[in-house]
Symmetry: C2
Subunit: 319 residues, 2 copies
């Protein structure tokens, strides 16, 4: 029997697990809640217990597995297999994850940063179609990403490669970013960024758009509400949509001018806006990408949803 | 005896050759003029004759060489070993370079695009210090470049990776680029781009800067003249220098936000401005690069000058 792989996607709310084939097909998946009490000291023991329990249920032992791969928040040391500074897990000090898991389960363990791991998932069996050159941009509360070039996940000298949310795109009215800089992609293209833009353009907007009325009324306006209004042709919604597209499209074009990937995959909660988002993006992309690159690099929506993490994590085992 | 490598840097004016060790040390170099007559049909035979002649002079035969590497202008097919559309060589139709050279000399032949090859040279034994993650930006008549990530020269899906001159950086008064787009780095940071900026800012400049007088006098103003004036504190020269730094520094910061290379190497004729250029660049870079990246990615001037081409070409043999 071909050996299987375990993929783990460690998050602040839940820990997702999957057992996959070496072709990246999920055969079984489950999840447990993340207990961040006591400085996150329950997390690794909980993971170990859950994996052992599932292996028992399925009648599988360590010899049936090629390895365990995991995506983690925080600063990951891939060689050491440690994580530090994952604040949503309460992991302030260095956690020896690899050592604990390997000694308890007896299966080789591999780890990388969660955004990188999601990028690997989409590249391998998602919208990237297993092409060696794929860039993943995830638009969530923040903007993250990962770069796969010539078949390799790119980390750079200090693990900072793929900080796509911090590409500077706004030079007119740059908004302060959590990173300490101004005008980062994240300030205008994340879920929060779209709300930033809505407030910015609402201020000088004088028409009778429904979206403007919502804001003036003090109602909660989310990225979804903004895109839904834009899809209906709401004038303020369209202003936000066009500027969002301009910023994100420029960033994507410049990524492509540097790397000419086969695909730039757009994922994260904001990408639920779907083809409507892609259309606005494509127009700006075609204007700013080098002609040969505009023809060869495609933009696509992410395919795997929440499974990208466990699938990409599993792929670490095969590298 | 350790086998040697031949590196060739094919240009529109001259063809440079070198014999190198496998450590990238040049042991012998020479060059011949490029004869582009008769649709460039003399170029490959001239190269073959010149290599044979030098091998004879040095008493070396095919067995003494591991391979021949070459950097070429135009569109290169690395697998086929062909070049097409190298207009400065008069090569309009496809040239079977590899086939001709291998059958005449009997040494394995490798080829890549000239900008990529220069990037490899600087990465290997130049300012890149043989680190696996290095980006090379060359500021000449145009702006070109090459990306080495995780030890691999990145080509992308259609060979367009490294089109760093076409990163869009100017959104205020974008100048038309030869590529058909507007606002490309090349329009404001190449030798021509610096002259573009000088003319732009001279128009609205009302002071008595010496550089302004030169322009009003109809004298030829080159990038070197502009930088020399800026170094002396010329007011108009400083305006151009600050804006040049802003555009190039932003592009470098965004390259670093994507790739976090150990070094971004700045080469080409414009880089002769030296540390003065680097200082202006570093200031903007620090403002726009993600903090962890600003600390880990360094900016440096190219080290190898005209030898980057033959050295990088030689490195193709070792890949």
């Amino acid at each position: 029997m071909e050996k299987k792989i375990i993929g783990i996607d460690l998050g602040g709310t839940s820990i997702k697990f999957a057992i996959l084939t070496q072709a990246g097909e999920i055969q079984h998946k489950w999840s447990i809640a993340t207990t961040i009490l006591d400085e996150g000291s329950h997390i690794v023991p909980d993971m170990i217990a859950s994996i052992k329990h599932q292996m028992e249920l399925l009648g599988l032992s360590a010899e049936n597995f090629l390895g365990i791969g995991m995506g983690s928040p925080g600063v990951v040391d891939r060689q050491e297999g440690t994580v530090v500074g994952a604040y949503n897990l309460n992991w302030k000090t260095k956690q020896a994850v690899k050592k604990q898991i390997e000694s308890a389960i007896g299966i080789p363990f591999f780890i990388d940063n969660d955004a990188n791991v999601a990028a690997l998932g989409e590249q391998w069996v998602g919208a990237g179609g297993n092409h060696p050159d794929v860039v993943f941009v995830t638009l969530g509360t923040g903007v993250g990403g990962g770069v796969i070039a010539d078949g390799h996940l790119i980390h750079g000298i200090a693990g900072g490669a793929g900080e796509l949310g911090h590409i500077v795109v706004d030079f007119d009215q740059p908004i302060a970013c959590t990173c300490g800089k101004k005008g980062c992609l994240e300030t205008v293209a994340s879920a929060t960024g779209i709300v930033n833009l809505t407030r910015r353009y609402a201020e000088s907007y004088a028409g009778d758009a429904a979206l403007k009325a919502l804001i003036d009324d003090g109602q909660e306006v989310t990225a979804k509400v903004v895109f839904d209004h834009a899809k209906e042709g709401d004038e303020l919604g369209m202003i936000v949509y066009k500027n969002f597209s301009r910023y994100l499209g420029t960033a994507c074009a410049n990524i492509a001018n540097i790397l000419n990937p086969s695909t730039i995959v757009i994922g994260g909660g904001v990408s639920a806006a779907g083809d409507f988002l892609l259309e606005g993006l494509q127009e700006v992309f075609n204007t700013h990408a080098f002609p040969q690159i505009a023809k060869s690099t495609q933009l696509a929506l992410a395919d795997l949803g929440n499974d990208a993490g466990v699938i990409g994590a599993a792929s670490l085992v095969l590298k």
